[in-house]
Amino acid sequence: MQNSRYRGVAGVVLVALVAVGGSYLQIGERPTAPEAVVEAGAGNVLPRPPEAGDRPAPPAVQDPPGPPAASPAEARRWALAKRLAMAEELLCSFQDASKYPFTSRPIHEHPDQVYPNRPIAERRAMRTREGPRDADIRIHTTQSRVFIAAGEPVVLSIAAMDRGGERLPIEVERATARGLSAQPDRVTPQVALRMADDGRSGDAVAGDRTVSGAWTPAETDLADFAGTIRAEIEYKVEGRAGVAWLDVVYSPEVPATWSAPIREAIEGGSLVFLLKAKVRAPGRYLVSGRVDDARGRPMAMLMFNDLLGAGDQEIRLSLHGKLIRDLEPSFPLKLRDVDAYLLRDDADADRALMPRIEGEAHTTRVYTLSKFSPDEWQSEQRSRYLTEFTRDVEQTRAELAELDPGQPSISFTPDQCRGFNANISSPQA
């Protein structure tokens, strides 16, 4: 490689920085208390296996940098080499990240957006109303979603476990919901929630020591409230009283509705899903949908974000041709779980949800891969960034060359990005 000398300097910097980072490692720090553990909603998160379309991993560098400089010139060389490594990282990372449109991405880049309709689960130590926590009792809560469209129900549940994971009897003494107004002095209605362990109204299994309830804001005094609604659940476990809070954000307004079956078309070498909508409230709409291949394997996340006028509109979710070519899915593909909302600038609450399309929305025809374009995405935005990042690499390299006039002047090419990405994934880099 032509610039092996400077790359070598940058590589030495990276290795040394990792070594410097090691000086921050301390033995004997206090362990994290197990009762402080909160579980992620793991069911909603897709693990990220390396695959086609994956972005390169930037080098892991522990800041702050600490060059073991013997002289001002060496310190300057060190700093420039670090800046060069960063500039190359930015150029290569952006080049790779922008080979597909930002609205058509491999779904592993959106690991917490893969299954948006799975319940959100949390596990915490029991909290009493007075504040102290009881670490011997774990409280498990779930809520079916955070943002609720007009007319949609939300299912809330609560259960208790001991340290060994055994279910404990739990009794919900009182469950209420009230709006958290953006105006602190505004009083909002408070409504009672039905929660029980009887196998009805949102409770999946009777007598399983999970107390649940389905609740529809549109059917209560909060029907016209827009914004955050807090459910407060007062419960008792083994004679001890506790409280849990679950927040949902309700949108009573329906800004637009879906108006026709979804169609598909190949346009410009990409597969486009065409969604017809009747828009009542014009403005900026954000729409997202997921695509699975014929085997049910999640493959892509499609997004739309643009202004829509009132009346009949067509929303386009485009699956980029190169992404299809790179992922080589088995057809037919399935579009599923489409979420959409009107985003209101600078408002609280900031969105009004369209009716959710939960589950399968559309199944495509069967295509051969040759129908799709293998070309990378091009746009003014992409060109602007690549131009700037390339200039940063060249300028930093020129500054480094001033310190060592014997180094030949060279240009950075995309091929060097591939070499860079290979280097940073190697422990010897």
């Binding site: 362990p31 994290t32 930037p58 930015l90 960034y385 390339t390 090419t413």
Partner: protein, 294 residues
């Protein structure tokens, strides 16, 4: 299709030939977090951070918002600043602290692909700038972001009612809400370098894993998920490690796309608040901004 091998050198050549390109200016934006310090729209008011004379990156600007209202209602202040300094031939480096991470992430995810009017970087009293050439561009010119104790994943202090829920920002900081507020993976190719602090004294039991008394590693490390998870340092026996870089953490949790951990506080030496003195984890980010935001 023109290959990138040809395209990139060509773009560099063209960009240097365009009149006005020499006037391109780089700016360093500091987006504050929760709390009242810093007058909204005054890009020279560094009260939240520390003495304004301190070096903190080229052409530094303080991006102030009220630190109290909801993220959505204050996003316009961030858009104003990005429009002012990060359009046309101007480029930005961005530093955030605390909820500054959440409000920048929200603004980028929702408006990062929208048409922006190019501005002249001359602000009026409310923080809005005049138009430059009347043209528009898609999104902003942001080179990278460094987030000190980023709260984009929320804080359990909001979950537990430690903060008053009368404050609109507090409801947005509830972990489940903050994580559902927008798609955190949508950064439009902009890299977020995360700086996670771990000096904790009094809120340790409320926050999972390592924390700095306000934000836990699951947020300051940019970890994906609908709720928080417990992550710690390599020496912590009871928690999985937050890894450096973009790699998955010990235990399998993954980071939001475009998020890379640059600093993990293995010595538990850095606290959360800047204390008006560029203190705590902000000191680490300030040093990085001084070194790399040129």
């Amino acid at each position: 299709m023109i290959s990138l091998r040809v395209l990139i050198p060509l773009m560099v050549l063209l960009s240097t030939a365009v009149p006005g390109a020499a006037m391109a200016t780089n700016y360093t934006l500091w987006i504050k977090g929760r709390g009242p310090a810093g007058a909204s729209g005054n890009y020279n008011d560094f009260t939240y951070w520390g003495p304004a004379a301190t070096a903190a990156g080229v052409n530094k600007k303080a991006v102030n918002w009220d630190g109290y209202s909801s993220i959505s209602s204050q996003s316009g202040k961030i858009r104003d600043a990005l429009d002012c300094f990060c359009t046309g031939s101007n480029w930005c480096y961005v530093a955030t602290h605390d909820a500054g991470d959440l409000i920048l992430g929200y603004t980028l995810a929702n408006y990062g692909g929208s048409a922006r009017i190019k501005k002249n970087a001359v602000a009026n009293a409310t923080g809005q700038c005049g138009n430059s050439d009347g043209g528009t561009q898609t999104g902003w010119n942001i080179k990278w972001v460094r987030a000190a104790s980023g709260a984009a994943g929320g804080s359990e202090l909001s979950d537990y009612g430690v903060w008053s829920n009368v404050e609109p920002l507090v409801k947005d900081l509830k972990t489940t809400t903050a994580r559902a507020l927008y798609d955190h993976n949508k950064t439009f190719g902009v890299l977020f370098y995360m700086y996670a602090a771990a000096k904790s004294t009094f809120n340790d039991a409320k926050l999972p894993g390592r924390d700095d008394d306000v934000v836990a590693y699951h947020s300051s490390g940019g970890v994906a998920g609908t709720t928080g998870t417990a992550l710690g340092n390599p020496t912590d026996f009871f928690a999985n490690d937050l890894t450096l870089g973009t790699a998955a953490n010990e235990g399998g949790s993954v980071k939001w796309s475009g998020h890379s951990v640059s600093f993990r506080d293995d010595a538990a030496a850095y606290s959360h608040a800047p204390l008006g003195a560029w203190a705590g984890i902000v000191a680490v980010v300030r040093a990085a901004m001084e070194a790399y935001a040129k």
